[in-house]
Structure formats: structure tokens, C-alpha cells
């Protein structure tokens, strides 16, 4: 992993540019944790016997609707993530609190996505009976793995400048595809219901 001296790190004030002597553990630990999370979720989903419907929230007609709206909320905050990330990196004009915005929109998106994932894993498990479901299962596990890696990478300083945007982009792509294969599908087949 060679660092590009012209990378965006320079325009990211709190982090000094990458240095040549990086300990491999800095990348290895997040990568291993990411793999463990993704594989662990997949194995749980495969081994656990699908229980059917688990919980519901007051005011919603079905768990499908609850999950779709939670997922849509997460997706909305994920869009905020992308915009605020560009602000943090100075690619878009942004307020001084854009870093805080990025942090908290990410936290909300993640925490809103967790109940959806718990329900998916508990009620349905890892399924492959159709293309949509297969991709959704796969990406669902990958998303939480990639997110764990992103969080752990944030704790290291002196990362190559392209790494965080890359991992963040992966997380966002996974979430977008997850939303397309679940909530959008739900709204299109069942209808936009609450």
C-alpha cells in the first residue's frame, strides 16, 4: 500500500498525511473484524431457524412497513453522509459543523439500520431463493462488516487518504443496494403504506 502524496488527506485538517512506516495491524485488525462480522451474521442467519414475524411498532400495519421506513430513514441519513463527507474533505462548501453532521448522521443511519437487520436475521435468516433475496442477504452481512471496518479505521491516524473514502463508499453502496432490494421492492409490491 503506497500512499499518494497528492491524496485528499492534505485537505483534511485533523489528520496528518500518511507516513511510510505503517504497522500492518492497523489494516489487518479492521479487515479481520469486518470479515468476522460479515461471516458471523451470515452463519447466524443460516443456522438460526427463521422465526417469522418478531416485533412490530405501534402505528404501522406490518413489520414490512416498519422495516421499510426504518431502512428509508437510514438511506436518507446515508445520503447526508455522502454530502457531509464531501464537505469534510472540502470538495463541497460546507459549514464548520459538517464533521459533526457527518458523525451524527452516520450514527443515526447505523442505529436505525440495526433493528431492521435484527429482524431480518431473526425472522428470515440468510436466504437465497431469488436473486433479489440472495443479494440482499449477502449485502446485509457485508454492510455491517464494512461498517465495522470503517469505524475501526477511524481510530487509526495516518491512513492513506484514499482508504476512508473507499471504505465509506463501500458502506454507502451496500446500504443503497440493500434499500433497493428491500424497501423499494416493498413499496412497489405492497404499496407505500405506513
Amino acid at each position: 500500500m503506497t500512499a499518494d502524496p497528492n491524496a485528499a488527506t492534505q485537505s483534511f485538517p485533523p489528520r496528518p498525511p500518511a507516513r511510510p512506516h505503517d504497522s500492518p495491524a492497523r489494516y489487518l485488525v479492521p479487515a479481520l473484524v469486518a470479515a468476522a462480522v460479515a461471516v458471523g451474521l451470515g452463519v447466524y442467519g443460516k443456522v438460526h431457524d427463521p422465526a417469522g414475524t418478531a416485533f412490530n411498532l405501534a402505528g404501522f400495519s406490518s413489520t414490512g412497513a416498519v422495516k421499510s421506513w426504518l431502512a428509508t430513514t437510514a438511506f436518507f441519513f446515508a445520503l447526508v453522509q455522502v454530502v457531509s463527507a464531501f464537505m469534510v474533505y472540502g470538495r463541497l462548501p460546507g459549514p464548520s459543523w459538517s464533521a459533526t453532521l457527518h458523525r451524527w448522521s452516520g450514527r443515526i443511519a447505523f442505529l436505525v439500520a440495526v433493528p431492521v437487520a435484527v429482524h431480518c436475521l431473526y425472522a428470515f435468516g440468510y436466504q437465497t431463493y431469488s436473486t433479489r433475496v440472495m443479494w440482499h442477504s449477502l449485502l446485509g452481512c457485508a454492510f455491517f462488516g464494512a461498517f465495522s471496518a470503517k469505524m475501526l479505521l477511524l481510530r487509526s491516524e495516518r491512513l492513506p487518504g484514499w482508504l476512508l473514502p473507499l471504505v465509506g463508499g463501500l458502506v454507502f453502496t451496500a446500504l443503497t443496494l440493500l434499500w433497493l432490494t428491500s424497501a423499494l421492492w416493498f413499496f412497489r409490491t405492497v404499496g407505500v403504506t405506513t
Binding site: 433493528p115 431463493y129 475501526l152
Partner: protein, 227 residues
């Protein structure tokens, strides 16, 4: 200096996830026990109260009872949705036998029949190869799966009292054989399919009070289904 923020975020997600998981794992028994207590007084079912029949495990000393009124599984109807919310499932249990209807309201349907074991579990089959595996939990709900056309649908069906439950109407309208099935959920939602000479289509709504329904201009009356 290491930032604690991202790690706290991860931990918060983990704690939230585990919390919801334990909620799910325990809520099944919790809500059931509390609601059976609530239900015990108004339901007042004739012979075996659902609470009693489901809570007492079938003791080995019990001899197979010849009279149907003594069957350990209480007669009841159950209706609910599949976990993915694409179809409805309704089950009616009478005298140790069950009939179930699985229906997505558009083109997928299956009528399933079979016996109910003393512990409330059942394996029902349909002529088209569909299978339903389910278990009555505390006389309050049926949890299980329906396998249809290679797909597996998890479902939960809560106990349903008339007019919700399972309805069927068969007739001949202008030479065409009409076979309609409806599931009315406790919240009033209906899912139904009318098959005209083997061709399935979405069904018009029935009047849940009387079972009256107009199919192709003909007034029919749907009946509650019993095994």
C-alpha cells in the same frame, strides 16, 4: 490519541442489536402468557380453554379419546400474514384436524389439510404440493412456515374470531366453475383469490358479516371453512 467515538458507535449498535434479539427471543412467551390471561375470561370456550389445553403438556397416561370434544387441541381459527408480508395464512382447527389457506391475493394460493397433533403441531399438505408446518403456541397463535413453489414463507397467525378467519365460496356462474377463497384478518384486511375454471385472479371483497360477495355479477355467499 485514539478516538473513542467510532468504537462507542459500534458498541451502541451491538448493544441495541442484542437487546432487540433478546426482546424477540423472549417476547414470544411473554406476550402469549399475558394475553392468554387477558383472553381467559372473555373467550370462555366451551370445553377446553385454550390456556389449559396448551399449557399442560400431553401426559403419557392420557388415553386416546374417542370423543372429538375431548381433543387436547382447542377448536379455533387463526389468521395472519407471512413474515415478508406478501401473503396471508389462515388455519381453522376442528376436532384434531386442520384446514389452512395460503393466499397472496393475486395468483398464489393453496388449500392445505392435515391432522393436528396433541402438542399443537401440524403438518398440512395441499394437492399442489404446498406444505405448511406450524405449531399452536399457548392456544394463542400459530407460528410456522409455508412452502409453496419452492419458496419458504415464515408466518405468524393470531387467534381470530368471526368474522375474521377463513371463507370459501364455490359456484357455477354462466357455466364457469368459480372457486373463491378469502382470509379476513382481525384488523379487517382481506386477501382473496377467485379461480374461474382454474384461472386465479384477485377476488372482490366479501361482506365479513354475512359472507355475501358478488362475483361476475352473481351474488354468492362465502362460508366459513371447517376441516
Amino acid at each position: 490519541m485514539k478516538r473513542p467515538g467510532p468504537l462507542l458507535t459500534l458498541l451502541a449498535g451491538l448493544v441495541l442489536g442484542l437487546f432487540m434479539l433478546t426482546l424477540n427471543a423472549t417476547s414470544g412467551t411473554k406476550t402469549v402468557s399475558s394475553s392468554t390471561q387477558r383472553e381467559a375470561s372473555p373467550s370462555a370456550s366451551p370445553s377446553a380453554s385454550p390456556k389449559k389445553s396448551a399449557n399442560t403438556p400431553p401426559t403419557p397416561t392420557v388415553t386416546p379419546s374417542p370423543t372429538p370434544s375431548k381433543t387436547p387441541v382447542a377448536n379455533a381459527s387463526y389468521a395472519g400474514r407471512t413474515a415478508d408480508d406478501t401473503a396471508s395464512v389462515a388455519v381453522t382447527v376442528r376436532d384434531g384436524k386442520a384446514v389452512a389457506y395460503f393466499c397472496d391475493g393475486r395468483y398464489k394460493e393453496a388449500w392445505l389439510r392435515g391432522p393436528v397433533k396433541d402438542d399443537g403441531s401440524m403438518k398440512l399438505t395441499a394437492p399442489n404440493g404446498a406444505e405448511l408446518d406450524g405449531k399452536i403456541e399457548q392456544g394463542k397463535k400459530i407460528r410456522g412456515t409455508v412452502k409453496d413453489e419452492g419458496r419458504k414463507y415464515a408466518f405468524t397467525a393470531d387467534k381470530a374470531v368471526k368474522p375474521s378467519g377463513l371463507w370459501r365460496a364455490t359456484a357455477k356462474v354462466r357455466g364457469a366453475k368459480i372457486d373463491g377463497g378469502w382470509i379476513v384478518l382481525p384488523n379487517g384486511r382481506q386477501t382473496g383469490i377467485v379461480t374461474r375454471d382454474g384461472k386465479a385472479a384477485s377476488a372482490p371483497r366479501i361482506d365479513p358479516e354475512t359472507g355475501a360477495v358478488t362475483v361476475d355479477g352473481q351474488q354468492l355467499t362465502a362460508q366459513p371453512v371447517t376441516p
